[in-house]
């Protein structure tokens, strides 16, 4: 909005300008219509979440709510346990993030800053691991967690998230760290700093922007995971919100307003992240493809 385009100001005279105006107006209208259609599913969800099923049955989908049924949210929050599911999601996501960022930045530092045997091989192993369909890990990981006594604990999910996202995080961090000029590090090395000290006192602070972008992106990924929660947990009381939602659909089959209200509540944290950390989020998305 601040970037008011120059051509607009320049071409404000003559019939050509009028045509241009009409053109651009048409373009805006078309674009707005398209965008609104695009967002229609979200509007539908919002609309449904504040109504009752009886209301929809009686008056049809496209009608104003006869009553603003805010209790759908209350029911989803308490009775349908979205409250519990959300808490679980945070308990799983936060340690996962810390773990993966720490471990990945360590390996990224090694991969970006040292020439050694197997460097490229390890790097490629991480990249390949990121891109492979993780479904192939389901059975052995299920077996492994069972063996380790981790089945049906938060720990099982946290470990697999850290391990699986390591590949992507390492990939991104390594590519970022390679762009840090070597002179800065060499200077520190000359000062007699140990490698580990260089890592956390120079490299980490320099990497903060990319760490932030990565953290934002990974937050939404881990938060939105569904499959692992489905496989590695059995207690309803441990389920993160994505898996909990799928259960809601099974239990409140005929109550779409409640389900959509639950879905909206479940989305709040990621929307929050998106709204306030949008820059990092977008940056994170492009980081992975970048290089």
């Amino acid at each position: 909005m601040a970037t008011l385009a120059k051509p607009h100001a320049a071409s404000r005279v003559g019939p050509l300008a009028t045509r241009k105006h009409i053109n651009s107006a048409a373009k805006y209208i078309a674009l707005t219509l398209f965008t609104l259609t695009w967002l229609l599913p979200i509007f539908a969800t919002l609309l449904t979440s504040v109504r009752t099923m009886d209301d929809i049955t009686l008056h049809g989908f496209w009608s104003l709510p006869s009553k603003f049924a805010i209790e759908n949210f209350r029911n989803a929050w308490v009775a349908a346990r979205v409250r519990q599911y959300l808490l679980n999601s945070f308990i799983i996501t936060i340690p996962s993030l810390l773990g993966m960022l720490f471990l990945a930045s360590l390996s990224a530092y090694a991969l970006a800053r040292f020439k050694f045997r197997g460097n490229l091989l390890i790097y490629f192993m991480y990249v390949a691991g990121t891109m492979l369909p993780f479904q192939i890990l389901l059975l052995p990981v299920f077996r492994l967690t069972n063996r380790l006594g981790l089945y049906d604990t938060y720990g099982a999910l946290i470990l697999i998230h850290i391990a699986f996202q390591l590949g992507f995080c390492t990939f991104v961090m390594r590519n970022f760290m390679r762009t840090v000029p070597g002179e800065i590090l060499d200077a520190a090395r000359v000062d007699g700093c140990g490698e580990f000290r260089i890592y956390w006192q120079i490299m980490l602070p320099l990497s903060l922007p990319s760490l932030a972008a990565l953290a934002t992106l990974e937050f939404t990924w881990v938060f939105n995971d569904f499959l692992w929660a489905l496989i590695l947990l059995q207690s309803d009381s441990l389920r993160p919100v994505t898996a909990g939602l799928a259960t809601l659909q099974g239990q409140y089959v005929t109550d779409w307003p409640l389900i959509t209200a639950g879905a909206l509540l479940a989305t709040l944290p990621t929307v929050f992240v998106f709204v306030f950390l949008q820059r990092y989020f977008i940056q994170g998305l492009t980081l992975g493809s970048g290089k």
Partner: protein, 459 residues
Amino acid sequence: MATAIKSQPLREPLDFAGANFLAILYAAIILVAFIFMPWMWTEIKYSGARLMSDVLTGGSLKTFSTWQIVFIPVSALLALGAGLWGLMAPHRGALASVLAAAIGLMGLVYYIDLYWVREGEVAEYIRANLGAGADLTLVALVGLVAQTVLLLPPVNILAQRLGRRASALRPPVPQKWTPYLFLLPALALYLVWIIGPTVYTFYLSLTDWDGVSTPNYIGLRNYRILFSQSALTESLGNNLRWLVAFVTVPTTLGLGLALIFNTDMRGGRWYKVSFYSPLVLSWPVIALVWAWVYHPSKGLINSLLIQSGITSDPPGWLADRNLAIYCIIAAATWRQVGYVMVLYLAGLKNLDPTFIDAGLVDGANRWQLFRHVILPLLAPVTTIVFIISVIDSLRSFDLVQVMTRGGQGTRVLANYMYIEAFNNYRMGYGAAIAVVLFTISIVFVGLYLWRSLKDELEY
């Protein structure tokens, strides 16, 4: 305290990195103990995290802890933050250390409450049954408070000297080991949780494992059965449909939108946000939203079709075997477009404007400019988009699982595998499907690696 230290400039400089480092270490120990060790009794199942969750939400174990347990993870996270801050901003090291100690005191409230304040049968039961995690946490919290002694100049200097002495005594780590030491923790985890299981899947696919009994080696029988099943053809076909849809629709639409929004247009930001906002939604949420859109009698599309009088007999969408898979793919595409758009926008931003200006000077029209200048310049992004689309389409699982559970002819390989393994208890057979999925994916992953290998070698 910090100022007091600063007023003694004559001594050798104080270094608080040790204190901050200790704070981080203790905070990490607390987190690990809280999540991976039994807070009560002896099973990991009863970790502090679990007890906290139950206390907060009135779960079944709520009586076995108190709400003060919330202080434990909170103080660990805060101490972690304080320590990191101190490390990265060394001139604030002393302050960070004090902060960490104060945070440690907050965590100790749980124990103070448990041991000195609370009385009664329940408290006694808790005290008697506290597990290893709680004990370790107590030690770490005390350590968190105690690390402040390093702020005292004599102790600090002593510690520094001891540290130097110790590193002098320690046999020097050969330079060439350093990278491996950095890699070790992550690599160990990766080997156990990713590489090992991948290999193990290959083994399982050659067995008749049913999830309970020990797997028996049966050679290639799973594969022989698999390749004779119409279910495999169905799943592969659906994956292929998904793939074709993914490399065409979101790519063109995303590129088109990126080209539109790349110009400085009024309100462009809001349009952009609208298109990439679906990216923050999880797949299950998208599945629910779209299931409601497709609902045959009350959903968005059909009520629109009926009320506007376009048709009185609208299709059943997910209920229609011929349409169901496309309905699901459409929902997936809806999310993917925003992603592709973001990638192209970033690519466009990095384009050198001089090329475009040169094209304009040559008198090229818009289409020519796009076709002969912009598109070739975007080729690297297009390759990435292509590969990401392929990989994402092979991974698809969640939407199908939530929307149709693989019914209505919508199975993709991942669902087929999930159903066979976890529904029909044919784990070995499921592993065989996973191997097929792996084999297809590895082709594209290889393609990507080969491409980046060239870049890497040039580097």
